[in-house]
């Protein structure tokens, strides 16, 4: 089917309306995140960025001496800008504004998908499919760079493809190219390692494009167009890699520190080539495969909540393989250049994703694999094209299929939202806190200054308190996970009791610990001294 045949045959809605629908879907999800916990939540990476932003503001330096994010400065700069012009504190930015800003990813996604799928309807459908992917929803719901990094990736792909179609109009072409490189630099500035792997994926896509075009009969091959395409992609990739190099080694030296943490050539290569990210301390990388069983109430719950991932993976892989075989064996020609591009980009990201998983297992240690998000971005338009192109034998079958798909999508949206927000009924990793817990910490800040206070089995309250107080230092030393030596006070709330019960972990206090604070829901216990030296 040609690109024109992809256009809807019924009366189309205006493109603007489509875009608004897509934005509305994004806003719907963001609203849920905001309403679910009412801003009373804390999460590790969000807090880490909060500290980095605060340090940038207080030091008035792009590269502060401490508390800086080694992989890029983009997000901190953006948040600093928003904070300064609005007067909103960092905690507000991270807990509220960052969630609402998640919808910014919608326009570039929609625009790119319109180029790849061929219609506004298709773009909106693809965006809808995108918004039921839990891994992507998860990164959108946090106060980190990823929503911007992924969105900029989408925008840069859109600009690249548009520029390839605008070679006959020099002014437009030049504008698009300039915007593209600005966009790429922005990606680099937000996270240089993800940017580099993105650029290499583009290069890999170039190779795949070249393979496909080369295999087509001369009569079908738009020769000049193909040559331009390959040449453009090659130049683009090389220039982007130069930008990455300049950023790491000249513009933003902290990125070198991240690279130096990786002590082996294999690790460094993986960080630069694959979709992985260095972590500051060796061993800090969480093995996501190993935590499935402990992070959710059951493995079945996990499978259900990630159903959208598996369906996307299975469907898109099937489509791609079919296209590969069909085009490779010469039975069919690619319908249009957009199809070739989409096939190539999907293949590139999928190969990169597979190699990243392998690297995670074989190298491990210092690398944290970011599963799915990049791959998802290109898988959804692939599926969307197939849905639009599908021609069932009878209209009744089509209607039934679409009705079923609608229900399934509705269900997937619910499941994906539950996963993305770490719904505590199903997840063992709780991020919400009760206001009484913060009240107790505030009391401890006055009465337990310079002393330790254990506040839970992980960083939940530490992160929540930091965000609630705009990362201002506390006089009391908050202690999470295992109890630190010297900590003799323990914050025990109904939330912590419930969590301990859920995890099957006893509370770290003794039977005879004394209650020194009680606000009804949250208590602070103090261990009784067992030696003359304990107080």
């Amino acid at each position: 089917m040609s690109q024109h045949q992809l256009h809807e045959t019924d009366r189309p809605l205006p493109a603007t309306l489509h875009l608004l629908i897509a934005l509305g879907l994004g806003l719907l999800f963001a609203s849920y995140v905001l309403l679910r916990y009412g801003g009373l939540w804390g999460e590790g990476d969000t807090t880490t960025f909060a500290f980095a932003i605060q340090q940038m503001i207080s030091s008035e330096q792009l590269i502060p001496d401490v508390n800086r994010y080694a992989n890029g400065y983009g997000y901190q700069v953006l948040a600093t800008f928003l904070s300064q012009i609005s007067g909103a504190p960092i905690g507000f930015i991270q807990r509220y504004a960052a969630i609402l800003l998640a919808i910014w990813i919608i326009p570039p996604a929609w625009l790119l998908y319109r180029e790849l799928v061929g219609s506004a309807r298709g773009a909106t459908l693809a965006t809808l499919f995108l918004l039921v992917q839990p891994e992507l929803l998860f990164v959108l719901s946090r106060g980190t760079h990823e929503k911007f990094t992924r969105g900029l990736m989408l925008l840069s792909l859109f600009l690249l493809i548009r520029s390839l179609r605008s070679t006959d109009r020099l002014s437009r072409f030049a504008s698009l190219i300039i915007c593209f490189y600005l966009c790429i630099y922005a990606v680099i500035a937000f996270n240089t390692f993800l940017a580099n792997s993105f650029v290499l994926a583009v290069l890999l896509a170039l190779v795949l494009c070249w393979v496909v075009i080369r295999e087509q009969p001369l009569s079908l091959r738009p020769a000049a167009q193909a040559g331009v395409l390959v040449q453009r992609l090659l130049f683009t990739s090389v220039i982007c890699l130069i930008l990455v190099f300049a950023f790491i080694f000249y513009i933003y030296p902290p990125a070198q520190i991240s690279l130096r943490v990786l002590t082996t050539i294999a690790e460094r290569s993986a960080a630069l080539i694959l979709d992985v990210e260095p972590v500051p301390l060796a061993g800090d990388a969480i093995n996501p495969y190993a935590t499935i069983d402990s992070a959710w109430i059951s493995r079945e719950a996990y499978v259900l909540l990630t159903l959208s991932n598996w369906l996307l993976l299975g469907a898109s892989a099937s489509i791609w393989l079919w296209q590969t075989l069909a085009w490779g064996l010469g039975r069919r020609a690619p319908p249009d250049p957009a199809a070739v591009l989409l096939w190539a980009f999907y293949g590139a990201f999928a190969i990169q994703g597979a190699l990243s998983i392998l690297a995670d297992f074989s190298i491990g240690g210092n690398l944290q694999h970011r599963v799915f998000p990049s791959f998802t971005l290109l898988a959804v338009p692939l599926i969307t094209r197939a849905v639009i192109q599908w021609q069932p034998p009878t209209p009744s079958i089509q209607r039934s299929a679409y009705a079923t798909l609608a229900l399934v999508l509705g269900l997937l949206a619910i499941l994906s939202t539950l996963k993305a927000t770490n719904e505590p009924v199903l997840s063992n990793k709780w991020i919400f806190y009760h206001p009484s817990e913060l009240q107790a910490i505030t009391w401890a800040d006055t009465h337990l200054a310079e002393r330790g206070l254990w506040v839970g089995f992980d960083e939940r309250l530490i992160a929540g308190d930091a965000l609630a107080t705009d990362v201002q230092p506390r006089a009391v030393r908050l202690d999470g996970w295992a109890v630190e030596a010297g900590t003799r006070s323990f914050l025990i709330s109904d939330v912590i009791r419930s969590r301990g019960t859920r995890l099957g972990v006893p509370l770290p206090i003794t039977n005879d610990a004394a209650i020194t604070y009680d606000n009804g829901i949250t208590q602070i216990y103090r261990l009784r001294p067992e030696t003359p030296y304990q107080r």
Partner: protein, 816 residues
């Protein structure tokens, strides 16, 4: 004319040719082989002096270039050259390269020496002498020495009012090896060293080193190291290589009786390796040093942490270079950043060793742990620090109360000497620190595994005391007052154990054990001597004999604090000389027989479980063997005893009672049921012994059972006296609902079960994990149905939008 010309020619030849290669022996660190000079400028006087010497290899060379136009012709290098404005190039192997270059110059600050070594890794210092001096390896010297007074050495003394900076990975402090990786040769000093000769004696008496590694501030190594020679008797420097501060070597610290040059070059690598001690930190008898992680500044007299101070004292006043007293204080100020779990109290750990006999052997050591505030400000040149002054330290220690370990070196075959006192101590010091800081309630491990010949005793951890020692008439040795236990490894599988069973200030039990035989025929021989107010009780398992002697032995012949000065040291020495006896530590019977009195001898008997009673008497278990026979005082009481076990008790008189086995019962005290999982309630077990026999060496094991699941709750060694009870707290939090059976078992020393009990606790359903409860807790509106409703809205909207956007059904095509 011709003759004078020839003579002149000969004189010139002699002057300008190298001196005969005869070895000129020197007290310095080199051997002179020859000297010659050159006039390369044609000025009619030498400007280069070339010295052939052996300081790194058999043939090296030093080339001295005159920069002050004042080099004179001489065959004595001391006259020909100077350390004021010359450039000294050290050439190992005399191959024309340079491994070290020292430039000397007068500046506005004073006289400066800059040392340039290899910075590029090729083993040489690239340089250019003419037309101008250029040092090409690095723009910065590695070591810079400043003499503000403007001179290095004069006729009779050397200048030790110096300021040094060190840039790069050079060991310039004692702690430097811990952060060498953070040292960079980058033009920023990594160390600043100040040396002072406050008395202008020509000997340094002060030195302090500030380290500035680019390491995290909370990393452990000391950053300020200060040393003072109180007696101002540093030994003159020997072993220099031309310049008095330059030498070779691998040791940072000085040693006894010697002062090597402090700036040490590694000639094999061409790098300055060490800028060591100008003042000996340990190797003298009136010195002290401080290694502090905190860095007091001239503006703020902050606390010192770690070894602050570490002092050495000449108690014998013999000035022989070896101290007789060593006091090491490790001070942790409140909220010490360098100690995990540091709280808001000062804590100290002190090692106090002394050489009582003045034989360069440490004889005694006290290891002291405590918490005492330190408010004293000690003023040092250029800064003040919150620290006990060196002069006051011994007295400050003995005036206060501590938890104490005492070690006596009894093995006189090998002299025990280290530069820092007696290291060995029975208490795990890391565990003791955690215990002392209040971070842990776990009692530090008290080891009996000190080397053979080291006798040690310890006080109870819960109490603190002044470190009094007493001299025991029983064994003729110094012991620690208030010690509760002690041991002495005698070697060859023999050991002597001490105990203080009645809780007073003195040991009252000596227990000698010997393990003999092999795995098939293993046995332990024991001898025991117990001391009460009115009796000595001796038993020997090898000869199966027990003896009671009515005699009141004074607990001590004299008591003393450890010596803090010469007079106290002398007095203790006199007292020991007066009272000390050479008693065989293995021979408890000889100790018993020192004292006369009415004696009851029980042959064919064994003794065990000796203890004091609450009534002020004592008791023990007597095992009468088939050949049992009493004789002596009170023998009638024991006449006719059948073989078996008996309780022998003494309050005002001896009483003998047949001894039944202990009658032990366990009682669990638990709530029968609960409705939440994590609410806490007091739980415990009561152990009761209804018989008069003590039950010792028992093991209490408690586990919680639910179905097939077994959860260990407690495993603990316990003991119950006769006719007594013991309470053991249980700290168990069930993590699952339902019925749990708590089972408690008691085992004896042979792993035989002697008591058991169990109780079932039912934990009913609670709301802790119910979805509605969690939704209620997690919802900001405290309405549990908020989230489900929102989710349904999302799902519905998605489904609706898809259904509206899905491609319309295409009409079926009909072919004609």
């Amino acid at each position: 004319m011709q003759r004078w010309f020839l003579i002149g020619l000969l004189l010139l030849a002699v002057h300008l040719t190298p001196a005969a290669a005869h070895a000129e022996l020197s007290a310095e660190g080199m051997t002179l082989l020859g000297i010659r000079q050159q006039d390369t400028t044609g000025a009619g006087r030498p400007n280069v002096t070339i010295i052939d010497a052996a300081f790194a290899t058999e043939r090296d060379q030093v080339r001295v270039y005159d920069r002050g136009q004042n080099m004179v012709a001489s065959d004595d290098w001391r006259i020909a050259t100077d350390f004021t404005d010359d450039v000294w190039v050290f050439d190992v192997g005399a191959d024309g390269t340079a491994q070290l270059i020292i430039t000397f110059q007068q500046t506005d600050e004073g006289l400066v020496a800059e040392l340039w070594d290899d910075r590029t890794g090729d083993g040489r210092v690239l340089h250019q002498i003419e037309p101008t001096l250029e040092l090409l390896d690095s723009p910065f010297p590695t070591v810079r020495v400043l003499a503000r007074d403007g001179w290095w050495q004069r006729a009779d003394r050397s200048n030790f009012n110096l300021h040094l900076t060190v840039d790069g990975p050079v060991r310039a402090s004692f702690a430097a090896p811990a952060f060498l990786e953070f040292l960079r040769h980058d033009g920023e000093p990594d160390f600043t060293i100040t040396v002072r000769d406050t008395t202008n004696s020509g000997r340094p008496d002060w030195q302090w080193v500030d380290a500035w590694p680019k390491a995290p501030e909370t990393s452990g190594p000391a950053r300020l190291e200060a040393i003072q020679n109180v007696a101002d008797d540093e030994y003159p420097i020997t072993g220099s290589i031309f310049w008095y501060l330059l030498g070779s070597g691998e040791q940072y610290n000085k040693d006894y009786l010697i002062s090597p040059p402090p700036i040490k070059m590694d000639w094999t690598t061409g790098r300055l390796a060490i800028v060591g001690e100008f003042v000996a930190s340990r190797f003298n008898d009136d010195v002290w040093f401080m290694y502090s992680q905190y860095r007091p500044t001239p503006a703020e007299a902050g606390p010192a942490s770690f070894e602050s101070p570490f002092g050495f004292y000449d108690l014998a006043q013999d000035n022989d270079g070896y101290p007789e007293l060593q006091v090491r204080m490790v001070a942790n100020p409140p909220r010490n950043l360098y100690i995990t779990g540091s709280n808001d109290s000062w804590t100290q750990q002190i090692r106090y060793s002394w050489d009582q006999a003045n034989t360069t052997t440490w004889d005694y050591k006290l290891e002291l742990f405590g918490q005492h505030p330190i408010e004293t400000i000690t003023h040092l040149p250029d800064f003040a620090v919150q620290m006990i002054a060196y002069e006051q330290l011994p007295q400050w220690v003995v005036e206060r109360e501590w938890s104490i370990d005492f070690v006596a070196v009894e093995n006189t075959d090998l002299p025990y000497w280290t530069s820092e006192g007696i290291y060995e101590t029975p208490t795990d010091t890391r565990q003791m620190l955690d215990y002392n800081l209040g971070n842990s309630a776990e009692r530090p491990r008290r080891s009996v595994d000190l080397p053979v010949g080291m006798r040690h005793e310890s006080t109870d951890l819960e109490q603190t005391y002044q470190p009094y020692l007493y001299f025991s008439p029983i064994d003729g040795k110094l012991h620690l007052r208030h010690a509760t236990q002690g041991a002495w490894d005698l070697g060859d599988a023999r050991a002597l154990y001490y105990a203080n069973l009645n809780g007073d200030a003195y040991l009252d039990q000596w227990l000698w054990l010997q393990n003999t035989g092999d795995a098939d025929n293993y046995r332990t021989i024991s001898r025991q001597l117990n001391v009460t107010d009115a009796h000595l009780i001796y038993s020997d398992s090898a000869v199966e004999q027990v003896q009671l002697r009515a005699v009141a032995v004074p607990p001590s012949l004299f008591e003393t604090l450890p010596p803090t000065n010469h007079a106290e040291w002398q007095q203790l020495g006199s007292q020991l000389a007066q009272h000390q006896r050479d008693l065989d530590p293995h021979d408890l019977r000889a100790k018993f027989n020192q004292f006369a009195g009415d004696t009851l001898t029980l042959n064919g008997a064994r003794l065990r479980d000796f203890r004091f009673t609450d009534a002020g008497g004592f008791r023990f278990v007597l095992t009468a063997l088939p050949h049992f026979s009493p004789r002596g005082a009170d023998a009638a009481l024991f006449a006719g005893l059948a073989p078996g076990e008996y309780l022998v008790a003494y309050t005002d008189q001896l009483q003998i009672t047949p001894l039944p086995p202990p009658d032990l019962t366990l009682t669990l005290h638990l709530a029968a049921q609960g409705d939440t999982l994590s609410r806490l309630a007091p739980r415990g077990i009561e152990l009761s012994n209804a018989e008069i026999a003590d039950a010792n060496g028992l093991t209490l094991y408690v586990e919680a059972q639910q179905g097939e699941q077994r959860v260990p709750v407690l495993e603990q060694r316990v003991g119950v006296h006769g006719m007594d009870q013991q309470w053991v707290a249980l700290d168990w939090q069930p993590t699952q609902l339902g019925a749990w059976t708590i089972v408690a078992r008691l085992f004896d020393q042979d792993q035989q079960q002697v008591a058991q009990t169990q109780q079932t606790v039912t934990l009913g359903a609670n709301a802790a994990t119910a979805p509605a409860h969690i939704l209620h807790l997690s919802s900001n509106t405290r309405v549990w149905w908020q989230a489900p409703v929102l989710l349904l809205v999302i799902g519905g909207v998605i489904a609706l939008i898809f259904s509206r956007l899905a491609p319309p059904a295409r009409p079926t095509e009909h072919t004609p």
